[in-house]
């Protein structure tokens, strides 16, 4: 005889969950009571949004399914932004919420909210349990759905009486049977043959790699494939890390804040090989002018992404790793396209990313110093805005799953809690949250979580006393009318100190490296308040809706 709550906790453990991020409340008391003497580790956050982001950060850094827990009503609603963030970036996560007892459902009971209704459009699937006997099966299904195919968040809503209800026999199912869910993993052979034919014939091929490569752990295969055929690779924001930053074929990020050489290469290419990417508007700009001369091969596990924003010539539905493996087995080394590689190299040399090198404190410099200090052996998480783009542009990543950022939803406040989650996935690596002074204040209360559990996340605040990215748009497109984007100065070190966290304020260039070293040397959390050049911009920049080779702060291809 076991209660629903006990079965839940045991089921989570059977799924290999070793850490749960959560926050208690009335209807989850039976679950919390089970956690009290369970070996399942629980981290008490300071806001449920952080629980969702931490589970997400854990999932992205580890490749496993993350898990979080909240009470009904306000608790569940506070998870929403975190669930939506995970959904947009295809992150495997299971969110568990308490619910009012089934007898009160639909009665506007105290702390009742229809969280399955609310999360319908932002979950891969969700469940409202009505019977304690379903707990084990649903947990099994939820983890299966979250972690397979195109990953995504799944929510399980558990009414209080389902938690307290007693079940005679508990058997954890070892299989799921879902007749409406059969992801395609293996690419269609005929399509693969067609793709190979195009690749062999192409003179100016480019690989456009996205988060799908990271998701399916296809980075090694991708690098092998690109190297074998000498095809330059550009990555989306989500794809960063799938090829080392210093790899000669790596063109960096493409799109709105992409490198000029990546955008030029796309524009001139005659074959675009899109792998685990979804032709997002921030990447492709004006759709008709994106890769206008190229035939397109699109490899993706989600058939709905193929042909959604751009017509493709060879669609291949499948797991990017398996498809790349199949292609590698079939394709032979081709002669390198020397003229094309030379052209790309020329762009790389003549259109590098740049910033003004003078005595003032430039954020790009800070990121470069950090990059050189850790040499790719760190997990770098970002918030959203300029801080995110500078990191994407200037940090040289070495491994997949070491770059963690909210791409699709662009959630300010994501970084710090996600970094906390990432630490539990990779306790062997230092974890940095690169933040803006706006974003960090969206979940700054998590300093409480970091301090209480001595979670050694290093927060590097690129403090420009502005909502920098919005200010940049106002500067460029709204006549410098800085409407509500200035933030009064905050002494972040003092806030950190109040939580019992060490920190340092940095105001000049020569203090940067010592501050970064102090952060690395500190065995607990650490805050760096970098007072950067206030009106620094992120360049190059493609204005929204323009062609990606029409960049501000860049030049025309030479």
């Amino acid at each position: 005889m076991k209660t629903g709550a006990k079965i839940l906790v045991e089921s989570l453990q059977r799924e290999g969950v070793d850490i749960l991020f959560g926050y208690p409340g009335g209807v989850v008391l039976p679950i919390y009571d089970e956690l009290y003497d369970s070996s399942l580790k629980h981290i008490l956050v300071r806001h449920e949004q952080a629980a969702a982001h931490a589970a997400d950060g854990y999932a992205r850094a580890s490749g496993k399914v993350g898990a979080c827990l909240a009470t009904s009503g306000p608790g569940a609603c506070n998870l929403v932004t975190g669930i939506a963030t995970a959904y947009m970036d295809s992150v495997p996560m299971v969110a568990i919420t308490g619910q009012v007892p089934t007898s009160l459902l639909g009665n506007d009971a105290f702390q009742e909210s229809d969280i399955t209704g609310i999360t319908l459009p932002i979950t891969k699937h969700n469940y409202l349990l009505k019977d304690s006997r379903d707990v084990a099966r649903v947990v099994k299904e939820a983890f299966f759905i979250a972690g397979t195919g195109r990953p995504g968040p799944v929510l399980i809503d558990i009414p209080k009486d389902v938690s307290t209800g007693v079940v005679d026999k508990f058997e954890y199912p070892d299989k799921v049977s879902l007749r409406g869910y059969n992801p395609t993993y293996k690419g269609h052979r005929r399509q693969i043959d067609k793709a190979i034919e195009l690749i062999v014939k192409a003179e100016r091929p480019v690989i456009y790699a996205g988060g799908g490569v990271i998701c399916s752990n296809a980075s090694a295969e991708l690098v092998e494939f690109a190297t074998l055929l000498s095809i330059p690779v550009t990555t989306t924001l989500m794809g960063i890390g799938c090829i080392p930053g210093d790899h000669p074929l790596n063109l960096g990020m493409l799109g709105m804040h992409g490198t000029e050489y990546a955008n030029f290469a796309i524009t001139e290419s005659d074959l675009l090989i899109a792998i685990g990417a979804r032709f997002d508007d921030r990447v492709i700009g004006k759709a008709e002018k994106f890769a206008p001369h190229a035939k397109i091969i699109h490899i993706d596990i989600d058939p709905a992404e193929i042909g959604k924003n751009k017509r493709v010539d060879v669609p291949i539905v499948g797991d990017t790793r398996l498809v790349l493996k199949d292609m590698l087995a079939l394709i032979k080394k081709t002669g390198a396209k020397e003229a094309w590689l030379k052209r790309v190299k020329h762009w790389k040399q003549h259109h590098p990313l740049k910033y003004k090198k003078d005595d003032s404190l430039h954020p790009q410099y800070i990121i470069r110093q950090l990059s050189e200090l850790v040499k790719g052996e760190a997990v770098i998480v970002s918030e959203v805005g300029q801080n995110q783009m500078w990191t994407a542009q200037w940090f040289s990543f070495k491994h997949p799953r070491t770059w963690i950022t909210s791409g699709g939803l662009g959630t300010m406040g994501y970084g710090f809690p996600a970094a906390i989650g990432a630490h539990f996935a990779r306790p062997d690596l230092p974890v940095f949250d690169i933040a803006g002074d706006g974003s960090i204040q969206m979940n700054i209360q998590e300093m409480g979580t970091a301090a209480a559990n001595n979670i050694p996340v290093k927060i590097a605040i690129l403090n420009n006393m502005y909502l920098g990215m919005v200010r940049q748009w106002q500067e460029l497109f709204f006549d410098r009318r800085y409407s509500y984007t200035e933030l009064p100065p905050v002494e972040f070190v003092k806030i950190a100190n109040a939580y019992g966290i060490k920190g340092v304020k940095v105001e000049s260039v020569d203090e940067v490296v010592p501050a970064l070293k102090a952060a690395l040397d500190c065995d607990g959390p650490f805050v760096m308040d970098f007072r950067i050049e206030r009106e620094e911009n992120v360049f190059p920049m493609v204005p929204a809706g323009a062609a990606i080779n029409e960049m501000i702060g860049g030049h025309t291809p030479s």
Binding site: T116, L128, I145, L178, G180, D302, G307
Partner: protein, 167 residues
Amino acid sequence: MKPHTLSVLVENKAGVLSRVTGLFSRRGFNIESLAVGTCEEPGMSRITIVVIGDDEKIEQVMKQLNKLIDIIKVTDLTENERVERELAMIKVSAEPGTSRAEIMQIAQIFRAQIIDVGAKSVILQVVGDTDKIDALEKLLRQYGVKELVRTGRIGMLRGTKTVGVGR
């Protein structure tokens, strides 16, 4: 842009209809007609949806539907030889006398049945495709249509082909 009739086989579970309709409104597809009922498979239901859009939109909506876990199979009937029907009930003002006789005559031509006769009105029941029902309604207008209710459209492939799970 033409109407497509999608036949969607779903798990017969709570909330499945809102998953389907929510997806349509969220992605900006208008549902022209909707019919839901049990079907030949135990534990499953069939939803028939008529949606207007160009081929790419329809392909996208079908792919998105297929992603829903509780959806088992999606078929576009429009690409095949098929039969489609709707049922309507129409309550018409019909004072005893000439107008009532005329209404009876119209009903006969349309093979509609009179399923209720009141002192001042009658209810007609008609089965047919959308055009037929529209035509009947138009003809009855002059007598005064007090109420009209129609089901969503349902459809089936002609011949031995089916849109079921197959065995």
